[in-house]
């Protein structure tokens, strides 16, 4: 208990530092948020144009597709907001020998890396996600009940950890290879598959994004339950299980990596 309290305190101090830094560079903040907003906008234009040509996408209505798309952005945005620092581990920190600083401090290294920075750009994704979910909900033919709404909110932290877990595992590769930025990039790109209903992919891809790099669990399967009330055990249970497995593996691989880590640079 005392340990958790201490961690929360450290977290708060780091956050305060980050906000100070952000206030210093307000222009950056606007550029980043608008940038990520535009990325999503461009994808939406794509959806909008193709739905002008077809009545539904493999049986999914435009509102359902927008709902799944929006739902995928919320946990992605949260992970991006809080745990973006893992990318720098993969791209620069280890390679430049800057990782040593974490080893000299009396905090768990992974915890330190995770809370050290926040990435305000992520608001572009998060706000867009919330907006899309809100915009699509009134037009969906879904019977809403308290349980579905609670399920949606309850799932978000777990789904966020699927993203963080994948990033932690792939970032740890840098401890052996010095540089793993593009390894993170490759695996993270699998989340692109989460934007659309998984039924549009073939069996092989479906299996990969459900069981191996399980980004279909981040939006499609929870949405199946929320929209249609199908199979709550699998649709909600699997994402929770996957987040535990991935984050657990992430923590293990990270600490293994630190043991293998040799400082680089001079």
């Amino acid at each position: 208990m005392k340990k958790i309290k201490r961690m929360l305190k450290i977290h708060r101090i780091f956050m305060a530092q980050e906000f100070k830094r952000m206030m210093e560079y307000k222009g950056d903040f606007i550029v980043g948020v608008i940038g990520f907003f535009l990325v999503q906008l461009s994808n939406l234009m794509f959806l909008w144009i193709i739905f002008g040509q077809i009545p539904n996408l493999a049986g999914w209505s435009v509102n359902e597709v927008v709902f799944i798309y929006g739902l995928s952005l919320i946990p992605k945005g949260i992970d991006h907001f809080f745990f973006d620092n893992l990318w720098s581990i993969g791209y620069f920190t280890v390679r430049k020998g800057d990782f040593d600083k974490y080893l000299t401090r009396p905090v768990n290294t992974l915890f330190h890396v995770l809370v050290e920075k926040i990435q305000i750009d992520a608001l572009g994704e998060f706000i867009m996600g919330v907006a899309l979910v809100c915009a699509s909900v009134p037009n969906l033919h879904t019977e809403w009940d308290v349980f579905r709404i609670l399920a949606m909110i309850f799932m978000i932290p777990f789904i966020t950890l699927i993203f963080t877990g994948v990033k932690t595992i792939t970032a740890s590769v840098a401890f052996w290879t010095k540089r793993s930025g593009n390894v993170i990039y490759m695996f993270y790109t699998f989340s692109e598959f989460a934007k659309y209903p998984a039924t549009i992919y073939n069996r092989f891809v479906q299996n990969i994004i459900t069981y191996i790099i399980p980004f279909a669990l981040t939006s499609y399967f929870p949405a199946l339950f929320i929209l249609k009330g199908e199979n709550p055990l699998f649709n909600l249970g699997m994402p929770v299980l996957a987040s535990a497995v991935l984050m657990g593996t992430g923590v293990l691989v990270w600490h293994r990596g630190i043991r293998a880590y040799e400082s680089a640079g001079s």
Binding site: G27, G32, S42, I49, I50, A58, G181, I200, Y201
Partner: protein, 273 residues
């Protein structure tokens, strides 16, 4: 004169080649990531075509759409240029000053270094991808449509597109005088250019008035024109017009980059050193 120039700039080509050899594995993972996005695009289009009743949409059949996706990906990697980032970074940390005191052209050193960076890798991807495109096309449409002339025109058009992109990115790099967050600025640029150049959706899917505007803008000269040429969508005068437009934009951005360079020499105040 020519010989002297070559002697100055060839070492930059060499340096570029060595750079890419050092980070080969990293590069492979990056390309795999890019290819994944391509697969997502493929699946969404496959779903679109099987959900719609029409065989051809805005001039594209499903096999043509696949060819379009693969060629867009290939063209994108061929013409990719890092200039905006490098120039921006040098402006931000002041190392641009080193370029000013050296008796070589700033842009040319870059161009040759990047060419050295790209040549080996691009040839390594382009050949198998062109073969793949031809196999897909032959299998799906039942006809062998490979045309040497079109391939030659495609390569020529790609070269022009690369030069447009190169000088455009150099120009864009000067934005570092205004925006310090280069990564964000670059991302913004990439999204907008991606949409305007047909990376997201073929321009013929857009409303006609918008399509016309986009076709004139420099960005359709980047990916869209070479791909359309390879696919045989442009013939005769249209082809001449599009290549002419490409040449115009090369000259335009070349001129603009020179102007910006002159202006920045006046504006620059580097600290420290």
């Amino acid at each position: 004169m020519m010989k002297r120039k070559l002697k100055i700039y060839l070492p930059f080509v060499n340096a570029g080649m060595q750079e890419v050899a050092t980070y080969r594995v990293n590069w492979i993972f990056f390309m795999l990531g890019e290819a994944l996005s391509c697969f997502v695009t493929y699946f969404i289009w496959a779903a679109v075509y099987s959900s719609g009743s029409k065989e051809s949409m805005n001039g594209f059949t499903m096999p043509q759409m696949i060819v379009y996706i693969v060629l867009m990906f290939l063209t994108g990697t061929i013409i990719a240029s890092d200039g905006a980032f490098v120039v921006g970074e040098e402006i931000r940390d002041g190392s641009i000053i080193m370029r000013m005191i050296k008796p070589v052209s700033y842009n040319a050193t870059f161009l040759f270094q990047e060419l050295g960076n790209k040549l080996p890798t691009e040839i390594a991807i382009a050949v198998p991808m062109i073969i793949t495109v031809e196999i897909i096309r032959t299998v799906m449409s039942g006809m062998f449509e490979f045309n040497v002339l079109r391939l030659v025109l495609y390569i020529l058009s790609c070269a022009l597109a690369y030069l447009i992109n190169f000088y455009f990115n150099i120009c864009f790099g000067f934005i570092a005088f205004v925006i310090k967050y280069l990564w964000g600025a670059n991302m913004m640029k990439n999204v907008i250019v991606g949409f305007l150049s047909g990376m997201v959706i073929p321009l013929s899917f857009l409303p006609e008035a918008i399509e016309k505007v986009f076709l004139f803008l420099p960005f359709s000269s980047l990916n869209y024109t070479p791909v359309m040429i390879y696919m045989g969508k442009y013939g005769g005068t249209e082809l001449l017009y599009c290549v002419g437009l490409q040449i115009f934009w090369v000259l335009f951005f070349f001129g603009l980059s020179k102007l910006l360079w002159k202006a920045s020499v006046k504006r620059l105040s580097a600290q420290g050193g």
